[in-house]
């Protein structure tokens, strides 16, 4: 064995040495044992660094100190919007998805405006929806119909996700599109006072975030857990909600 240095002994002390014979070598040699004991004694001196004790309630004290500083400007929301925008700039955000999202955003914008104003004050629509889309549909039906289409797509995507052994960048791309659309529809539903629908769409978001940003990176165990959740719970809920939306008499 090559000459054993103090660096080797330091690695041995911290259990970082990759040579399995080093410990035996040190134990066999009185000189190495002496050096190792001296090093150990020195390093144990570091244990003298005992921090001043904090009282049991220290965590609460920290919370009291920072609570008022966790204002919305510090919250995760702006960061999310920033990452949203950066996501839009990423190549995996598909062109087709982006175009359809412009339409979704326009629709959500229009629905939000209509919900917030009295009927007689509603200005002419300037959004780029076709006249046919809006003709004959009040904002209420227009929203439920659009969300229903969104849930049809989601149902298809989730079914594929739940039943395939792995994930693909294409799935992440679609999930990103759906995540953005989902947020816009949620906002429009909330603006229209459709609390149940808004809540349902809000509950979908964490999963869509995982599908968009994490599913292609997670371990097989985590992926299996996600697929199981989708299969056992989420797909059913998506289908039930979609059925409700397709029955005009049921309020959401």
């Amino acid at each position: 064995m090559k000459n054993i240095t103090d660096d080797d002994l330091t690695l041995l002390y911290y259990g970082d040495h990759e040579n399995p014979e080093l410990a035996t070598e040190v134990a066999r040699s009185p000189e190495l044992t002496r050096r190792f004991d001296a090093l150990s004694a020195d390093l144990q001196r570091i244990d003298e660094l005992v921090p001043p004790a904090r009282h049991d309630d220290y965590g609460s004290e920290v919370w009291r100190q920072i609570e008022s500083r966790l204002t919305p400007e510090y919250s995760t929301v702006p960061s999310r919007w920033r990452s949203w925008l950066s996501t839009l700039m990423q190549p995996r955000f598909s062109l087709a998805g982006a175009i359809s999202l412009v339409l979704v955003a326009s629709l959500a914008f229009m629905l939000g405006r209509q919900a917030g104003q009295p009927e007689e004050d509603t200005p002419p629509l300037s959004v780029q929806l076709t006249a046919a889309d809006a003709a004959g549909m009040g904002p209420d039906r227009l929203l439920t119909s659009s969300v229903s289409g969104h849930l049809d797509q989601l149902n298809l995507a989730l079914t594929q996700f739940a039943n395939r052994p792995g994930t693909s960048s294409g799935q992440a791309e679609r999930a990103t599109d759906m995540l953005v659309a989902n947020r816009l529809y949620r906002k429009a539903a909330a603006d229209q006072g459709k609390k149940q629908l808004a809540q349902f769409l809000a509950e979908l978001e964490p999963l869509l975030i995982e599908l968009a940003y994490e599913a292609h990176k997670v371990s097989p165990e985590t992926l299996s857990r996600m697929q199981s959740e989708v299969r056992n719970t989420l797909l059913f809920r998506v289908r039930v909600m979609n059925q409700q939306l397709k029955q005009p008499n049921i309020s959401t």
């Binding site: 020195d42 570091i46 001043p52 904090r54 920072i66 966790l70 995760t76 960061s79 999310r80 990176k217």
Partner: protein
């Protein structure tokens, strides 16, 4: 990381302050110990902990579940502490930070206790004579049990450079503490 922890982190990432409060209660003591060992000052450590949690709140949306939350918090704490030390260094250039003695002095009643305080103070001073990187690397290895690879990630350096930082820290500490060991 347990499933319950993941749930709390997810909620906090979604802006749930109550969930974030749970994380603060859970990790404050450990973060204080780490901040104190890096900064060598009680008041500074308290400031660092608060600042680190505020940064954590702002960045928790970026946290990825596959990495350890404790390591992630340590990285934020270390970066906050190092920023703090750099600012301090600009203010007090070339001034050796004084080891904090108030808590050690409190209750000192016997010569033996005074000697103990002296040993702790000298150990503290020796630690503060290391470079920031050396001190953090040694602290994370010695007290927090992070692997060399984890420390390298926290300090944003290669594993090899991180190992060398630990070696240098150990060598310097041994030189500084040699008189104490032989006493």
């Amino acid at each position: 990381m347990t499933r319950a922890e993941q749930q709390i982190i997810r909620k906090a990432a979604a802006g749930d302050r109550a969930a974030f409060r749970e994380l603060v209660l859970e990790h404050s003591h450990a973060m204080f110990r780490l901040a104190w060992r890096i900064s060598g000052d009680q008041n500074a450590a308290e400031d660092i902990v608060q600042e680190a949690f505020i940064k954590a709140w702002r960045k928790i949306g970026d946290f990825r579940m596959q990495s350890g939350f404790r390591s992630w918090l340590h990285r934020i704490t270390v970066n906050t502490a190092m920023d703090y030390l750099r600012k301090q260094a600009r203010v007090k250039q070339h001034e050796t930070p004084q080891p904090e003695l108030e808590h050690l002095a409190a209750g000192s009643t016997s010569p033996k206790h005074d000697i103990q305080i002296d040993v702790q103070a000298q150990t503290r001073a020796a630690m503060m004579n290391l470079s920031d990187t050396e001190r953090v690397a040694l602290m994370l290895r010695h007290f927090e049990g992070h692997s060399i690879k984890e420390i390298a990630q926290i300090l944003n350096m290669s594993s090899s450079a991180c190992k060398q930082a630990v070696f240098r820290a150990v060598k310097k500490m041994r030189v500084e503490l040699a008189p104490l060991v032989t006493t």
